[in-house]
Amino acid sequence: MSFYGLVDGSDSSLRKYLGALSGVDQVGADARAAMLATRSIKTSSKRWAIDTAISMVDLTTLEGADTPGKVQALCTKAVRPDPTNSSVPSVGAVCVYNDMVAVARKHLDLVGGAHVGLAAVSTAFPSGRASMPVKIQDTQDALDAGASEIDMVIDRGAFLSGNYIDVFNEIVQIRELCGTKAHLKVIFETGELTTYDNVRKASFLAMAAGADFIKTSTGKIAPAATPPVVLVMLEAVRDFYQMTQTRIGVKPAGGIRNTKDAIKQLVLVNETAGPEWLTPSLFRIGASALLNDLLMQRMKMDDGYYASPAYVTID
């Protein structure tokens, strides 16, 4: 692999590449994110923003208690989020544990959801604490069962102890496994990386290793997709585009629960990476409860009065 010519796959070249990155000042990044949160968008744009946000949702269920029935219901909802209104777009993808991929694949195809992505969380999600053969097998299972997107976790232990090359090599191997069959999203678990410097470093590491998307969190650890973390990742994809002419996607996941939060994320995208990223192929939001709030806000805009949760389906 060429790694965009940025590194040659050796530890020393990776260290040199990551060492050249500028730092992130936490207070400054927090202040910029807070300032962007004060933007208010036009009513006409808001409707577009809600539909865009719906189309960007990776509708997620990642519970130990997941069952085929739950996953099937999720798939139905993903394809037609509002059964009473066909103008509501489908979501970007459903996101499930990889033993549920086959169920989801079958059901999506059944309900006319071939256009909806099917993301599987792999590589010993959420902790990433397994041997590499297990992680490879885990991913291969998901691919074999029909996943079109692989959401892998990085080895945070390796990252935090400075074994960047191990993290890099894992991503490279999973990337090779995905080939052209699936998009690869690399999850950092930013809540465990703790610093914005680490988030920036992990972003550049993952992008050079071949990630199609960089993703904040598993949803199992708080804090997750805070606006400044997403800001730092958006700055990274913007800079990476300058370096390689390749646009990498960003997926915040965890903690984005309502329309207001989602629109704040879109403002961050618009002002940081740029409007080119305002598309489901480059920006996704990993969420479960968010979709219903988006639907209720959409109803409110159409009807002129506040909607009741009774009018949106719980799964």
Partner: protein, 280 residues
Amino acid sequence: MSNRIDVKKTYKLFINGAFPRTESGRTYEIKNAKGTFIANPCLASRKDLKDAVVAARAAQSGWNKASAYNKGQILYRIAEMLEGRRAQFVDEIITVTGVTKVKAEKEVTDSVDRLVWYAGWSDKLSSLSGALNPVAGPYYNFTVPESMGVIAAIAPESPSLLGLIDAIAPIIVGGNTVIVLASTKAPLSAMSFAEVIATSDVPAGVINILTGKKDEIAPWMASHMDIDGFDISGLAAKSHGAVRIAGAENLKRIYSFKSADPGRILAFLENKTVWHPIGL
């Protein structure tokens, strides 16, 4: 040995660690209270002042960089040297002013003690005037006193030695360099004091001493654009207004003091506030 002709001293200026004559060649006559001729000190010119400012400016950054401990030790060293030459200063004060020996000795004693007092301030100024400011945000914010730069001073007519020390020590203890105009009527102890300085590890240019006429030199000092501050304690109050007007051209900090207190040191220090974010 009453027939011996004694060797008299030529009183010169003290600029950049050297003892030049005034470039103007001008001198004036000093007589004692009884009208007996004593000496022909220099009547410093505008060019002498300029040279002194150049020397003071060149020396300032190095002097400022010296640690507070070091500055304190150097001031203390001046006191040591002065103590060692007490007799000479007592004689000179008596010769010029005609005061009693007891009074002259007291002035020299006070001068030594005053130097020691100022010496001790060097490493306490930032705890006196510095601050850690609890700003409402994730920032570390502190204020520290810093040297102002090149300061001019007019020493009072009397006491000629103690007044000179009050015009020098508080200015230099915080890292400034100084050009001081000595007492016009009694410049002898000032020029002898320059000899003390020259043997006290004080870097060249940190202290520069001129002799001459106040009304001539004060306006030059006030209008010199490379002088940052001006102690006019030794200047008659009626001249303060004009000096302040001239000093406004570069917004010189111009002060007059009545006593020796830490405020006298702080007046010629700037306060610098530094902000830095606190984050991971």
